[in-house]
Amino acid sequence: MNKKMSGKLSNRLSENISGWLILAPSIILFTFYIWEPMIYSLVLSVHETKGFRMERFVGLQNYIDVLKDNVFHQALINTFFYVIWSLIIGFLVPIVVALIINEMVHLNSFFRFSIYFPNMVPGVAALVLWGFLFDPSEGGLLNAIRIKLGLQPSDWLQNPKLTIPLLIFIMTWKAAGSTALIYIARLQGINQELYEAACIDGAGIFRRIVHITLPELYSTARMLLIMQIIFVFQVLYEPLVLTGGGPNNASLSLMLLSYNYAFVDFVAGKSATVSVLVTLILMCLTFIYMKATKENNNV
C-alpha cells in the first residue's frame, strides 16, 4: 500500500518535472521577448539614458518632460485622429462588403479572393505601392487621373489635412478583406430558417437585414471594433514608411514618436516613457475589450 502511494507520488512528481522542462524553452523566450522587456521599459522610463545605457535614476522626470513636450501633444492628438478616422472609414466597410459579397451567386469565389488579396501584400510593399499612386508630382497615377478630368494635381499625403485620412484609407484597403471574411463566416452561420420565417411573415429585404442580420452580427462587430481601435492606436508602419510623420508632424503617431526617440534621437528613456504611456492607454482599452467579450460569452 505504502509502496503504491509513493510510486504514485513520484510518478506525479516526474510528470511535473518533465512538464516544466518542456515548458522551459517557451518561458525563456517569453521572458526574453515580452516579460523582461516590459519591466525593463518601466525601469528605463525612470532613468536618464545615454544611447541605450542607463545613467542615473531621475524619477518621473522623463514623464514630466514628455508630457510637457508639444510634439507629444501633437502625437497624442494625431493618434486619436487616426482612431476616429479608422472608425469613419474603416469600420463599416468590411460589414458592407461582407453583406454584399455574401449575397452573390455569381463569381463568389473570385470576389472572396479579390477582397483578401490586399491582405497578402506585405506591409512595406503595400505602402511603397500606394506611395507610387499618391505621388504628389504629376507622375503619380491619381494625379494623372485628376489631370485627365481637368483638375489640378493634389498634394495627397503632403497635405496635412489629408494625410491621416489617406493613411487610414490605405490601412483599410489592406485590412478590410480579412475582417470581411470573418463577417462572411458569421453570416453563413445564421440559421436560414430565421429568414424563411421572416419571409412568411412578409418582412421585406430591408427589414430582414435590420431585424435578423444586424443583431446576429452585433457581438462580432462589437469585438472587432475594440480590436480595431487597439490595433490602430499602435499605428507605426504607415507614417514611418510613407510620410516619416510629416508634413510638419501632421501624421506623427505615438508609436512613431517612441521609435524616433529611440532610433533617431537615441534617448531610450523618453522612448520607454512613451511606450509605457501607450501601454497604459491600451490597458484601459483592453479592459473594455475584456468586458465586451465576457458579455459575448454569456449571450
Binding site: E15, N16, S18, G19, I22, L23, S26, L29, F30, Y33, W35, E36, P37, M38, S41, L44, F52, V97, I100, I101, E103, V105, H106, F110, F111, R112, S114, F117, M120, V121, P122, G123, V124, A125, V128, L129, F132, L133, G139, L141, A144, I145, W173, S178, L181, I182, L187, Q188, I205, T220, L236, V241, S258, Y259, A262, S271, S275, V278, T279, L282
Partner: protein, 292 residues
C-alpha cells in the same frame, strides 16, 4: 438565370429574385462587387503593368493610365540587376526558421498547458494571456538591448526565436489540443509513453489543421516582417526582401522608378502563390484568428 433561381442562402432568396425590382437590385449589387474587386486588385496590377512599359512611355508626364507598351523581359533583367536572388534566399532563411520556431515552441507550450498541466502551470498561462495584450512594437527598445547584450545583432537567430514567443499561437494550439479526446492520451500514458514522444507521435499528427494555420500565419508574418529585421540586420549581405524594398524606396535615388515597382512586385509574389495554394486553410485561419 438558373443560378438566381436556386439561391436559397443569404438574405435575398430565389422568391425575392422573381420580382424585377429585386432582380435589378441584385445586379446593382453585382456591379458594386465588381467595383470592390477592382479597387482591391487594380493598384498592384497598375504598378505591375506600368513597370513593364518601355522607358520612353515610362518617362512620360503625365503617365499613361492604360499602358501602351509591354516589355515582360524587364521582369528578368531587373531581377538580375538588383540581385534579388540573394534577398529571396535571405527571406526564405528567415521564414523557414521562424515557422519552425513558431510551431515547436508555441506548440510545446500549448501542449504542456493543455495536456500535462504540471503544478503551477496556470500562473504561466495567465502571464502568456497577459502578453497577448501587450503590443509587440512597444517592447522594441528593450528587445533590441537584449539582442545586443547577447551579441546576436546581425544574425537571424533572434528573429527566428521571436516567433517562438507568440501568445496568440500558444492560445491557438492550446484551444485545439483541448479538443483532443483524453482517452487517446491516457492510453498512451498507460503504455508508458514519455511526454515528449507523446507530443510528436500522437498530439502533433492529430493537429495537422492547426499546424497548417500557424504555418501560414507565420510564413506570412515573417515574410512581411520589417521593423525588427531592419533594426537587427545592419549588414547589407543579410538584408531581407522587405528591408531591401524599404531601403530602395527611401534610401538611394539612383534607382529608376520602374525598377522599384518591379521590386515591389517580387515582394508580393510569394504570398500570392501561398494563398492560391492554401486558400482553404487561409480562410479557415482568418476566421479562427479573428474570432479568438
Amino acid at each position: 438565370m438558373s443560378r438566381l433561381d436556386s439561391k436559397t442562402s443569404g438574405i435575398i432568396n430565389f422568391l425575392d429574385l422573381r420580382k424585377p425590382s429585386v432582380k435589378a437590385l441584385y445586379y446593382i449589387l453585382l456591379f458594386i462587387s465588381c467595383c470592390i474587386a477592382f479597387v482591391c486588385l487594380a493598384p498592384p496590377l497598375w504598378v505591375f503593368l506600368s513597370s513593364l512599359k518601355n522607358i520612353k512611355e515610362f518617362a512620360q508626364v503625365p503617365p499613361t493610365i492604360i499602358p501602351h507598351t509591354f516589355e515582360p523581359q524587364k521582369i528578368i533583367t531587373t531581377w538580375k540587376t538588383l540581385n534579388f536572388t540573394k534577398y529571396y534566399i535571405n527571406s526564405f532563411i528567415l521564414v523557414a526558421g521562424s515557422v519552425v520556431c513558431a510551431i515547436v515552441f508555441n506548440g510545446l507550450a500549448g501542449y504542456v498547458i493543455s495536456i500535462i498541466k504540471p503544478r503551477g502551470y496556470r500562473f504561466v498561462f495567465n502571464l502568456i494571456l497577459w502578453s497577448l495584450m501587450i503590443p509587440a512594437t512597444i517592447n522594441l527598445v528593450p528587445i533590441f538591448k537584449n539582442i545586443v547584450a547577447l551579441k546576436l545583432n546581425n544574425s537571424y537567430i533572434p528573429l527566428w526565436l521571436s516567433y517562438g514567443a507568440n501568445a496568440f499561437y500558444v492560445l491557438l494550439f492550446k484551444n485545439f489540443f483541448d479538443e483532443i479526446p483524453r482517452e487517446i492520451i491516457e492510453a498512451a500514458k498507460i503504455d508508458g509513453c514519455p511526454n515528449l514522444r507523446l507530443f510528436y507521435k500522437i498530439v502533433m499528427p492529430l493537429s495537422v489543421p492547426i499546424i497548417m494555420v500557424v504555418t501560414i500565419f507565420s510564413i506570412n508574418a515573417s515574410w512581411s516582417d520589417f521593423l525588427l529585421p531592419y533594426i537587427v540586420l545592419k549588414n547589407r549581405e543579410s538584408y531581407t526582401v522587405m528591408i531591401k524594398i524599404y531601403e530602395m524606396s527611401f534610401g538611394n535615388t539612383w534607382m529608376s522608378a520602374d525598377m522599384k515597382m518591379l521590386a515591389v512586385l517580387y515582394a508580393i509574389l510569394p504570398p500570392v502563390v501561398l494563398v492560391i495554394f492554401f486558400q482553404k486553410y487561409l480562410t479557415q485561419g482568418v476566421v479562427i484568428g479573428g474570432l479568438k
